[in-house]
Point group: C2
Chain length 297, copies 2
């Protein structure tokens, strides 16, 4: 049975079209790997490549990408809206088919070790691969970002999982993980007041007592004269999308604000949507594992 892993490396480049295209090309030309999605954003000055393939093939192309990024992205000159700490900021591996989380954790560790040894970029393990509870949440590792990482990494508690206690001068550090598939889920509000979106995001995110494994920020969508609660739902099986959406709708009412629409950004697993369909359609005794054709194929 073919094993399939998804890997979605994020690089700190969203403006230099030459670098963006070259990274895209490296991924697309790799044998045995399918590129699912490539996104880049000038404001964030960041790009991501979602790829699918066998574990060894995926790790090989991911390494080629990190090698190129290490050489061609200079964090000393980088600015952008999205938090980041390295030329290759994060490299998550996600089990998709016929492979366990345990095997993905091993894959992520081997990969993180190789990056530190061959490219001299110290690496931190997060999420399911984390070496301690404090490192599970990526935002704890990334706190202080590239600019403060040179000092942070010297502290005992922030010794990298692989590599020496000093950052790569231009490529910073990189976080590597095995994790569950996450859903990038945005909810758009019919108000131009970004404070409302920010207030609601605070309620939603775990770090403020909101939903478990849910990350949320409030953003202005200037062109559309509206605002957005932008989220990563790390564990959609525990926190289904409908619950997040309906909570936002409920909280928005306090301001006389409505939900205009929602967006699933990039790739999402079918189950994340099916769970919400079952809620809204009031399905009784629906067992997706048994009843959804694709789950039986």
């Amino acid at each position: 049975m073919t094993q399939l892993v998804q890997c979605i490396p994020n690089f700190s480049e969203g403006r230099n079209i030459e670098v963006i295209n070259r990274l895209k090309q490296i991924a697309e030309e790799a044998r045995g790997v399918t590129v699912l999605d490539v996104t880049s954003d000038e404001d964030h000055n960041r790009m991501s490549i979602a790829m699918l393939g066998a574990p060894d093939k995926i790790a090989e192309v991911a390494f080629s990408l990190v090698k190129y990024a290490t050489k061609h992205i200079n964090m000393q000159e980088h600015s952008g809206a999205h938090p980041r700490m390295g030329a290759t900021d994060v490299v998550p591996f996600v089990p998709v088919k016929n492979i366990s989380m345990e095997a993905c954790i091993q894959l992520s560790k081997t990969f993180a070790e190789r990056v530190s040894e061959e490219l001299n970029v110290p690496t931190f393990l997060y999420e399911h691969s984390a070496s301690s509870a404090e490192r599970k949440n990526l935002s704890h590792i990334r706190h202080g970002q590239f600019e403060k990482m040179a000092d942070k990494i010297k502290k005992d508690e922030w010794k990298p999982d692989y590599g020496e206690q000093r950052i790569h001068p231009t490529a910073g550090v990189t976080a590597v993980a095995a994790r569950m598939p996450l859903v990038a889920f945005n909810v758009n509000l019919n108000t131009p007041n970004v404070e409302i979106a920010k207030s609601i995001a605070k309620i939603i995110r775990e770090s403020n007592g909101g939903f478990k494994d849910c990350k949320a920020i409030g953003l202005k969508l200037a062109e559309r004269h509206m605002t957005q609660v932008s989220m990563d739902i790390v564990n959609y099986e525990v926190i289904p999308l409908y619950r997040v959406l309906e909570t936002i709708r409920m909280e928005a009412r306090r301001y006389g604000v409505d939900v205009l629409g929602a967006e699933v950004h990039g790739i999402a697993p079918a189950q994340a949507l099916i769970d919400s369909a079952a809620y809204y359609m009031q399905l009784e005794d629906f067992n997706a594992e048994k009843q959804v054709l694709e789950n039986r194929v």
Copy 2:
């Protein structure tokens, strides 16, 4: 690339446990075929077996099942709530993976011919395999049921697609098709008055001017003191489930009746649920083909 076809033969037996178990066993013991679901119902006096496999393997086990049913189910002694015209009532083939509708049509024709030749059961082709527009809808073929089929089949316009113009004395006739996956979708109403469910079913079904390719009947769920609009949504890509559900909800309001819940019966394709999730979640620009992970694997 492995071709996968779903086949869901329906047999006119829902009471004789020996026959039910033997049919189930034949399907389960077949090599290279997965049994997805087996349902039997005493009121309907009917059973169905949903199976998945390669085209040749699926056709082979389906033939073994029809052969057994032809020998062990006597339509002269059959009664039940569900319309039926043969010991094997229908045998639909559904393309699932790496196979075209065209190839499934060919598969259904070869199968129908074999049943008529080797088992002396005349066969009619319906849905995508139909030889004329009048025969596309199964209910037109089945109209009059087993009891009137001996006369009906003698008429020029009801000459079977394969076999002679006389029914098999105990096994009647069988309908064979290639068709799209359908969704068996039931909506439960908080009224014990079956006339309300029947009125709404009339509005829903195509034969009364309702939704295209939608079959609907109103039923009493005596034990639960409520009623049900029970449907086959033959083409969920054209008529999404949410539209049917919300139409029923809207029509039920006329009677002061609410929707208590809904059921997806048996196997359904993920897309049928994802389309409804996208509606209720107000997803903007969602492209399931590109964005749902399983569609890319």
